[in-house]
Symmetry: C2
Subunit: 148 residues, 2 copies
DNA sequence: CTTGACCATGACATTATGTCAAGGTTGATG
DNA sequence: CATCAACCTTGACATAATGTCATGGTCAAG
């Protein structure tokens, strides 16, 4: 199976397939005489693994660790479970951080009449000194979708 | 007030102050004879505005729009409120997406014994084909903190 | 043989921020 | 005055994950 087919089969773009190969997440596949990559079924499975893990919000670093465990037939399932549980907590923390931002924002919104007049407590509130959060779990809220 | 003092007063790093200037979020300040930046109080307030807005998860693009409204003494507060409310919804959607990931992950975790044996439904589940989500609000879960 | 659909590689862009380097300034101390 | 530390300046490079574009080779059908 070549890279285009593997891409369709797994939903991972060809660009990303090559990227995963470049950073060592995917083993370099055999090449056919024309230079085309040729993926065995196990590699396709591996790509799916990566795709699913990303969909669950694992970073490529975490995925790398999971793949090592996947490759290791002797690993204890407790190791995997520990990583998964930690990640689940991470998700919960991030979600809570977003919710906290939302609450704070809605508090500001609450004071704003939202009519044609120019007075706006939202803008005033933003310009005021205020307790800044710890900046540790909040780095994911404002990232635009790079949809250009 | 020079850039170091402004940085301390607002919590925005000097690096970022200059960046905001480079991308047009901050007006180029006057320079003293030695070339040092000299910020008037209004600029310090503006930096605080940016910092607070970022803490609430606004992207620099959104902040740019908010700053325009801030500069415009005649704008209607409804404009501001609309942006804020839309962003609050965005936060809610992202938070919900993280929660959904977490639920799915915990489902996988649930089937895993987590003991010394190697069988692991988590890894097996990750390798299986599964319905991939829409990839539209989920791009914020796995970003590591760049703490290197 | 040509056209179109693939594939390959490499380079550049994105977002927000850090870090490092090399050099000018300033103020204080010996 | 010499010097040293603490500042400021600019510019360059790096991060994570992904898209996009350019340039060129390959293959299959007409």
């Amino acid at each position: 199976m070549n890279s285009g087919q593997a891409s369709k089969a797994t939903g991972v773009s060809q660009r990303m397939i090559r990227h995963y190969e470049a950073i060592g997440l995917m083993p370099p596949p055999d090449r056919r005489d024309n230079g085309y990559r040729d993926y065995p079924p196990r590699s396709v499975e591996r790509l799916r693994f990566i795709a699913n893990a990303r969909d669950l919000g694992f970073s490529l670093d975490e995925i790398s660790a999971l793949l090592e465990l996947w490759d290791d037939r002797a690993r204890a399932s407790s190791e995997v479970k520990a990583i998964a549980l930690e990640h689940a907590e991470d998700l919960a923390r991030k979600s809570a951080a977003l919710e906290a931002m939302r609450r704070t924002l809605l508090e500001l919104v609450d004071g704003c009449s939202g009519d044609a007049r120019p007075d706006c407590p939202i803008l005033e509130g933003l310009a005021e000194p205020r307790k800044r959060p710890e900046r540790d779990l909040t780095e994911c809220a404002g990232k635009p979708k790079a949809e250009t």
